[in-house]
Amino acid sequence: MYEIGKREFINLFKSFKSITIVVLILTASFYSAKFSRLFEGEAKDFNGTDIQYLGLLVLIVLFGTIFIMSLSHDTISREIHERTIRFLVTKTSRASIILGKFFGILLFWVICLFTSFILIGIFTQRIDWFIFFQTMSSLTFQIALTILVSVLVPKPMVTMFLGTLIGILFPILGFWLMTTERVWAVWIKYITPFYYLEQPNFSFLVIFLFSAILLLIASFILNRRDC
């Protein structure tokens, strides 16, 4: 598991796409923190969220899924498609492959997000750990979802298309669910992370549970699959 995670993590840092996304997130954090100083005293709080983090949060919530999907949509599907997975499944358990991939991708995003928070912290002189873990829960869910898609669909070209589609539609669905009053749709919001992200308490921890469920489903499917 550790080796798979390490390789996944290193590979993410090697790609041009990932470097571009990291730069984008860091730039958003920098300017978010810089411009927030202009409104100091006027807008200390925005819907329970420090305004310094607003740019970064909007970026993660709106584009997090598409960022993660674009970088890792083929994390499992490419191994299946190119049959490199045959070397992996003969050496370690399939659950270890899923977890290794998950933690490798997660570590990449933890470092990316942590760096962003440090950057913001330099301007604000403090780091809001609550928002950090809240954002992390959202990223964790998106990573688990990406892995599930990559296990479900063994063709990288299809996962790329699906990843883009989910990346665009998922936040739209989330925001629609938050605003809709249709009775038949209300219950759906409880099974998406957006509802829990909106709450100013620790209910975002439920999102970690959702992520674990997605990983369990991915592991179950990979366990049953012939490679």
Binding site: E3, E82, R86, F87, L88, T90, T92, R224, D226, C227
Partner: protein
């Protein structure tokens, strides 16, 4: 403890049954050859044992551990058929990665030693994207043995290799056996299997149609024996009677100057033939009995 034990192992894809209830046992320290024509189910069988695919029914154990037990993976090495390497990794990086995955991280010196064993030591720092088919095959074997497994599965280990490399790999397989390892291999090269394997199973349409040591297979298929005898000139007075005796003793009789070739049905006939020659005062210089080769047996099946 058996190295491999399978009980009624089956694999179906939809309504097509590829492996039709195979039960076999492989003892530790054996080189077991698995033979069969294309599509006979050899790779499917190996893939089930190595956890690449799941059996539809039946059970198996590897080194006493139940099939599917992840613990067994530490003790087995697999060179699967139709598996690609990571093009962006070097040969050395592959071995380091795979040995660590197997739970026994190999030091650089150990990796070099294994690369040397398969004849890839000069290419240790080359990315596998630049490797030829044969080089990839060799690295496939190297990764299967890097963690010093007790049981090694090799699916077509020498196909596509040049003659020198084939000998190199065959030597390596023998060395592994000398070190007490069990090898389960498939091959299209019948001579190779005959030369290397202590026991062989022949698969046809998903079923084992014959198995055993080479001698056992020969015994099962020895319906006729070809004998070639070089001898001194036959005295003119004995020629007719000896020819008559030989015609009755066997078939496909060919008489050349000082040499006869005949097909007989039992080994007993050979000794009778030698006695007949001696009674006719004919000296025998050489007797050559042609045993049925694995190829003969394979083609007969």
């Amino acid at each position: 403890m058996k190295a491999i034990e399978t009980k009624q192992l089956r694999k179906s894809y939809g309504k097509t049954e590829i492996v039709k209830g195979i039960s076999l046992t492989v003892e530790q320290g054996e080189i077991f050859g698995f033979l069969g024509r294309n599509g006979a189910g050899k790779s499917t069988f190996i893939n089930m044992l190595t956890g690449i695919i799941h059996p539809t029914s039946g059970s198996f154990s590897l080194l006493g551990m139940e099939g599917g037990d992840n613990m067994a993976k530490k003790y087995i090495g697999v060179m699967p058929d139709y598996a690609n390497l990571y093009g962006s990794l070097t040969a050395m990086a592959h071995l380091k990665y795979f040995s660590a995955l197997s739970g026994k991280p190999a030091a650089k010196a150990v990796c070099m030693e294994v690369l040397q064993q398969v004849g890839l030591d000069e290419h240790y720092n080359k990315k596998t994207a630049k490797f030829s088919f044969g080089m990839k095959k060799k690295l496939g074997i190297a990764q299967a043995i890097i963690h010093d497994p007790e049981l090694v599965f090799l699916d077509e280990p020498t196909s596509g290799l040049d003659a020198e490399s084939v000998l190199h790999i065959q030597r390596l397989i023998r060395d592994l056996q000398k070190r007490g390892k069990t090898i389960f291999m498939t091959s299209h090269n019948l001579n190779e299997v005959e030369k290397l394997c202590t026991r062989i199973a022949i698969l046809k349409e998903g079923r084992i149609v014959q198995s055993g040591s080479m001698d056992e297979l020969r015994a099962a298929f020895r319906s006729t024996i070809n004998v070639n005898i070089k001898h001194s000139p036959i005295p003119a007075s004995q020629q007719e009677s000896l020819h008559q005796w030989l015609e009755e003793a066997g078939s496909n009789l060919e008489l050349n100057d000082g040499e006869i070739t005949i097909t007989v049905e039992s080994e007993q006939k050979i000794s009778e033939m030698i006695r007949a020659f001696q009674q006719c005062r004919v000296e025998i210089y050489r007797v050559h009995v042609k045993e049925p080769s694995l190829e003969d047996i394979f083609l007969e099946l």
